[in-house]
């Protein structure tokens, strides 16, 4: 699938200033090119938009369990449990807002100069490394808070033995999920660090 290149027939190339360069330019423009499939572009664009919206919904759902516990059990909680839940919710909100901002930024392509784009991209990847690092460590921090809540219920609440057994099962399952999440976040962190290295090499030239 090739196109003949018809664009800019009338523009005199200021930058090519001798015959040798004209030859180079002619050779460059003689290379075969691929036709852009516009229906595929439209479909990909729609698919990408849908995917980004779903990611945003998932981001928002991440705080849903905390909000549910907050609304459902607030009145039955001890002061310590209320402080823990409030701390989890309040500390997760800036993280959520930042995550949503990053997604909206990634969704729009701007016509910035390449030097600026490279600098901005480098900053974004640095932020992604930080987010992956935070996500990785939020797993064991989250587990400590979860276990803390369970212990608080055990020592200060009137927890029946069957409820306690169920809580142990839930915490064990959560530990497995968090371990998988830790490994996933760690891999992401390493991948972003490699991307950062590539970008920094690009910027050096």
């Amino acid at each position: 699938m090739h196109n003949s290149d018809k664009e800019n027939q009338t523009i005199p190339p200021v930058s090519i200033d001798d015959e040798q360069n004209d030859g180079l330019s002619a050779l460059w423009q003689a290379q075969p090119v691929t036709t852009i499939n516009l229906s595929e572009v439209k479909a990909s664009l729609n698919s990408e938009r849908t995917k980004q919206r779903w990611y945003m919904v998932l981001d928002l759902l991440m705080i849903a369990p905390g909000v549910y516990v907050f609304l459902k059990y607030w009145d039955n909680m001890s002061n310590i449990a209320q402080i823990l839940i409030l701390f989890i919710l309040i500390s997760s909100l800036p993280f959520l807002a930042y995550q949503l901002w990053l997604r909206s930024e990634a969704a729009f392509y701007k016509n910035t100069q390449t030097a600026d784009h490279l600098a901005k991209l480098t900053t974004q990847i640095k932020n992604k490394v930080r987010i992956a690092y935070m996500t990785k460590h939020s797993t064991w921090v989250g587990m400590i808070f979860g276990i803390g809540l369970a212990l608080e219920r055990h020592f200060f609440g009137d927890l029946a033995s069957e409820k306690l057994a169920r809580m142990v099962v839930v915490i064990s399952l959560m530990s497995i999920v968090m371990l998988v999440w830790y490994v996933w976040a760690s891999k992401r962190q390493k991948r972003f660090e490699r991307q950062l290295e590539t970008l920094e090499k690009m910027a050096q030239h």
Partner: protein, 174 residues
């Protein structure tokens, strides 16, 4: 054109006119044919999105080339896992060949080899040199190249001179 693009129309015209340039941008970053197509698709999506915000303060060509090169830079960063991304493979040139139908078989073979060497040399250039050189080969002026890359006009001249010297070592008869 600007009004049409702003209104969400005329995208097809833009791609018909500048599709070849966008394809060459992809070719300058990717050697593998499948990866070139993937990058071209990414560039086309980015350009499509970018055109809806085009305000006409530069030429359409300069505007979409900025977006295309930025997308290509992002693509390169995202491909760090693929070790063969920038390696040139003779089998990756595609089934259509390099030369146009108007040349003789000898000319086609010669042009094929020259183009092969040119592409290989371009892809080995550092990012900034590669960008400046390919934009120059597309007929952009120093001012336009400076605008796309975020460089001064003098800096463009220096980089272009060095890039050409490097390329001419690979293509002594071009």
């Amino acid at each position: 054109m600007i009004r049409d693009v702003t209104l969400g129309q005329g995208f097809e015209d833009v791609f018909a006119q500048y599709g070849a340039i966008l394809s060459r941008v992809a070719n300058s970053y990717e050697a593998n044919e499948a990866m070139q197509q993937e990058l071209l698709q990414e560039i086309a999506i980015a350009v499509w999105q970018g055109l809806s915000r085009f305000k006409g303060d530069s030429s359409v060509k300069t505007y979409i080339l900025k977006i295309a090169h930025n997308r290509a830079v992002t693509h390169v960063a995202n491909q760090v896992k693929r070790l063969d991304t920038h390696q040139y493979d003779h089998n990756d040139l595609g089934s259509d060949g390099f030369a146009s139908n108007t040349h003789s078989p000898e000319e086609m073979s010669s042009q094929h080899q020259s183009l092969e060497r040119l592409l290989r040399a371009v892809r080995t250039l550092p990012l900034q040199s590669r960008q400046v050189l390919t934009l120059s080969l597309e007929g952009l002026s120093y001012d336009e190249i400076a605008d796309v890359c975020g460089l001064t006009k003098n800096h463009v001249g220096v980089i272009l001179k060095r890039a050409k010297q490097s390329i001419m070592q690979e293509l002594p008869h071009a």
